[in-house]
């Protein structure tokens, strides 16, 4: 083979190298083109799932003080000043409020902006009228947003169409950031020259990036600064301009930009920024407000209007001047806009959620039905069951009491912890959930995840198991509260002691529960059979498998506050078991309904034994271990509940219900130290504080058909008459009441009863009934 001439060879190598370089460059450009097109096209902004509280429904006779309505409207960002142009305000009138409600897309459709007048009287809504003075049956206030499930980096945004963005915002943006935006093809040669110069002369001068380049940088690239990156940015900007028109690029830019930080939540896009800083939709931003947002683009932290108002104001005014100088604003508009202050809303500072514990519950329930990725990107709207009033009350009650106990006990750090669950008695909706003393802290959620010994909280299941059989047990059946030893093979003897270290002999069943006697409960429970009692626990809604040991009966079983809530919810609902739910509806971001979580109940127990059990639990509050509750709540509310305290008082519980709400409170140390606080001394006050601030409904269970009321002498547990001092009417299943008369029931009394009976039958005969 003849050797190739050297010159020729070099030429070939050079040619090849050139070709390779050219191919590589073309390939790289092609690759960038692919990235630009696929990512820009395929890129749908990841939108967080937005979670809302329950909407407040105003109607005549609603029990709510005016101040609470005002507080909710304020939380929604309603201004307390009337405005003709902008809905979303309230003003006080002689007997109440005039409210201008914003439009809102509810689960069942759009509700237009309306104006209503609400009259209040004695903590109730007296009347509700529309703007013409006509009575209005119902007005739904938009629900409070309580957080979201966010995409990566907790980016939050509200997408807007370019057509919705005010012209002056776009003009201010172009005047300040990229004057030749509508003329250039992705880059500005002068800008590039300036940037190149700055590379040589040092990193002093910056800028020169067009909006397109800024978008490319935010979209595709890392923030590092290098020649190569700058070149890539340039090529991609040109490619972007080749494929898309100016308005598409501008719209994407306006939705992409970073405009500040709300704790751990990143504020992106002008849509959300308008809401966050000014409490209004982007359409209604004024020139001055638009100029502030545009000014902040340069450095949202540096020009933070909350923390650096002077700096932000100066920057805004600069933007206004540029806008005027570019001919986008008249001298008059400029002077007017400049004259005003920043007028930003006070910083709400809620971060990703003010109620992270409740949000966690919502998130877990959602995860059963939706893909995590969809939750974090599809902008779903989740209508939850959170009642902001109940939630605030629960948070306040817990943190205040814990601080007080810490001061009194001085057990050092870390301090006492606690958890609260509040549900709606009828529907099983979770209204409030607190996972620890710092309700804003997103971390260990004790309400869901702290499984702790429940102590006496399981006792109602023992008594319910007994009361189901009226031939053997009634509320006055004597139960033996003497020393009790339980022997079982392979386990040490079990000898439950009473809280007061005494035994009480024979006591009525309801008294044994009211005073939470351990020996009596253990004897009764083992008599009935541990398995049988645990089956009752399960039917009440506790899904966790409990150990079939006798000691489980007295609460040597670990449950979370939410599990306890499930059990007590079934009792509160008269034996109807409903899953505890935190979500009512889910819609797409534009309001199309996707999923409803309907009310669903199962009848776990017949109403009669539930009625008897509830009556006994009312005695716990009336005369038993929870009598302290009367400090907070009138005995007329007839509240039912149960205290729970575990060994060495490591855990303190109270679970109970009014006519409308059920609440569970747990208090203890995370590291299981002895808290030296009983359920009635610590959990009970939290429960009392909480419920007292929510105007509870009295508990009035409907009397089932199979129940009769019989006058009983508490001393003997026998039938009494009206001559017996201290006699009480107690419920019994038809025919199960004692027949024997108490010693106090005199012959006269008996005679009177007899006369009454005769008179009744005489009347019956007379009217042929």
């Amino acid at each position: 083979m003849a050797p190739m001439p050297i010159r020729n060879r070099w030429r070939r190598i050079a040619g090849l190298a050139f070709l390779t370089a050219g191919l590589l460059a073309a390939g790289y450009t092609l690759y960038l083109d692919l990235r630009v097109r696929t990512e820009f096209e395929g890129r749908r902004f990841a939108l967080p799932a937005r979670i809302y509280a329950r909407p407040l429904e105003l109607h005549a006779a609603l029990r709510i003080p005016q101040a609470e309505v005002e507080a909710e409207l304020r939380a929604l960002g309603y201004r307390d000043r009337a405005s003709d142009s902008e809905p979303g305000w309230f003003v006080r009138r002689a007997d109440g409020l005039e409210i201008s409600l914003r439009p809102f897309v509810f689960w069942d459709g759009l509700q237009a902006a309306t104006r209503v007048s609400v009259e209040f009287e004695d903590g109730r809504v007296k009347s509700l009228r529309d703007s013409t003075g006509k009575d209005l049956p119902l007005a739904r206030v938009e629900p409070l947003p309580i957080g979201g499930i966010y995409p990566a980096n907790n980016e939050d945004r509200v997408l807007v169409r370019l057509s919705a963005v005010p012209k002056h915002l776009v003009q201010a943006l172009i005047a300040t950031e990229d004057r030749s935006f509508y003329k250039h093809r992705g880059f500005d040669p002068r800008g590039v020259a300036r940037a190149a110069l700055s590379l040589v002369s040092g990193p002093r001068a910056q800028g020169g990036s067009t909006l397109t380049q800024q978008l490319v940088k935010n979209f595709f690239l890392t923030p590092e600064r290098s020649v190569q990156r700058k070149a890539t940015e340039l090529i991609m900007a040109v490619l972007l301009e080749l494929h898309y028109d100016k308005d598409e690029i501008l719209e994407t830019y306006l939705n992409e930009v970073y405009l500040g930080q709300d704790r751990d939540r990143a504020i992106h896009g002008v849509g959300l920024a308008a809401q966050y800083y000014f409490g209004k939709p982007v359409e209604r931003l004024t020139l001055a407000e638009s100029a502030l947002l545009v000014g902040m683009l340069k450095g949202p932290t540096f020009y933070d209007p909350h923390k650096q108002p002077a700096r932000a104001l100066e920057r805004r005014n600069l933007v206004l001047r540029e806008t005027k100088d570019q001919g986008f604003a008249t001298m008059e508009q400029y002077t007017e806009a400049r004259a005003g202050g920043l007028a930003v809303n006070p910083k709400p500072s809620v971060g990703t959620s003010p109620h992270p514990a409740f949000l966690e519950l919502v998130h877990r329930q959602l995860r059963r039905e939706y893909d995590e990725a969809d939750l974090r990107s599809e902008g779903l709207r989740i209508f939850s069951t959170l009642d902001p009033r109940a939630q605030e009350a629960a948070e306040r009650a817990l943190s205040r009491r814990l601080a007080q106990f810490d001061r009194e006990k001085r057990f050092g750090d870390p301090g006492l912890e606690g958890a609260v669950v509040v549900t709606d008695v009828q529907s099983g909706e979770v209204q409030a959930l607190v996972g620890g003393r710092d309700a804003r802290y997103r971390g260990f959620n004790r309400a869901l995840d702290a499984a702790r010994p429940v102590g006496s909280l399981l006792k109602p299941a023992i008594y319910l198991t007994a009361l189901i059989d009226p031939t053997r047990y009634t509320l006055v059946t004597p139960i033996d509260d003497e020393a009790f030893v339980w022997k079982s093979r392979g386990a040490p003897d079990w000898e439950p002691k009473n809280y007061d270290r005494k035994f009480h002999g024979k006591v009525a069943l309801r008294t044994a529960l009211a005073n939470s006697y351990n020996a009596a409960a253990a004897r009764l429970g083992t008599e009935l059979g541990v398995e049988k009692v645990l089956a009752t626990v399960k039917r009440l809604g506790v899904e966790r498998e409990l150990q079939p040991y006798a000691s489980t009966l007295l609460g040597a079983a670990d449950l979370s506050p939410l599990e306890v809530a499930r059990m007590y919810q079934t009792i509160a609902a008269g034996g109807f078991r409903a899953p505890l739910k935190a979500i009512r509806e889910v819609t797409t971001q534009d309001g199309k309904p996707l999923r409803r979580f309907p009310l669903s109940v199962e009848q776990a127990f017949p109403p009669e034994p539930m009625y008897l059990l509830t009556s006994a639990m009312q005695d716990v509050v009336r005369e038993g271990t929870a009598q302290g509750l009367k400090t907070w709540l009138s005995p007329e509310l007839a509240i039912a509940g149960k205290t729970g305290t575990t060994d060495e008082q490591r855990d303190a519980w109270f679970a109970g219900f009014t006519g409308d709400r059920m609440g569970v409170v747990w208090i203890g140390y995370d590291d299981n130290r002895a808290a030296r606080l009983s359920g009635s001394a610590s959990a009970l006050p939290v429960w009392g504080d909480l419920m007292a601030s929510l105007e509870p409904e009295p508990l009035a269970l409907p009397k089932p058909e199979g129940i009769e009321q019989v006058l009983i002498d508490p001393q003997s547990g026998l039938r009494a008459d009206m001559l017996c001092a201290g006699a009480r009417e107690l419920p019994f299943m038809q025919g199960s009441a004692p027949v024997e008369r108490a010693p106090c029931a005199s012959d006269i009394g008996a005679a009177v009863e007899q006369v009454k009976e005769r008179a009744k039958s005489w009347f019956d005969r007379l009217f042929n009934r």
């Binding site: 429904e57 069942d108 119902l138 009828q426 409803r596 009310l599 109940v601 009848q603």
Partner: protein, 138 residues
């Protein structure tokens, strides 16, 4: 260029779709004709009366999901209104959810007090639901 085209095609198809149904598909024809007419309305608060009316309109138009949702909304306002529970039981019946129809009617009964008429309406509904359940296993 062909690759580019392909990628674009794929990108165009990649948007996420939801499959979660809004309302369950209509299930076996509920024995609607055999249902007795609803007991005569009694006096509700204006708020609840309005909701009840719109729920009935929804139910008549076959929008059973909305009808149920509206009743639940009314029940949040008057949770002890036995008539609302009864109406909900009827809607559940029409939806073919016989188990819920039965329980919700039982729930209505607990709040029915001395309203004999409502009690017997609930009783009938419970029997219908049981019979339907026996047939369909639902």
């Amino acid at each position: 260029m062909r690759v580019l085209f392909l990628v674009l095609l794929i990108a165009g198809c990649s948007s996420v779709k939801y499959t979660a149904p809004v309302e369950p598909p209509p299930i076996p024809p509920a024995p609607e004709e055999s249902l007795p007419p609803p007991p005569p309305a009694h006096v509700e608060t204006a708020a609840v009366a309005g909701l009840l009316q719109s729920s009935r309109a929804d139910a008549d138009a076959g929008r059973l999901g909305s009808a149920a949702a509206t009743l639940e909304r009314a029940l949040r306002i008057e949770p002890r209104n036995a008539r609302l529970w009864h109406e909900l039981a009827r809607v559940r019946m029409k939806q073919g959810d016989f188990a819920q129809a039965e329980t919700v009617a039982a729930r209505s009964n607990t709040w029915a007090g001395s309203d004999k008429e409502l009690q017997s309406a609930n009783q009938r509904l419970i029997q219908e639901a049981r019979a339907a359940r026996g047939m369909t296993g639902r």
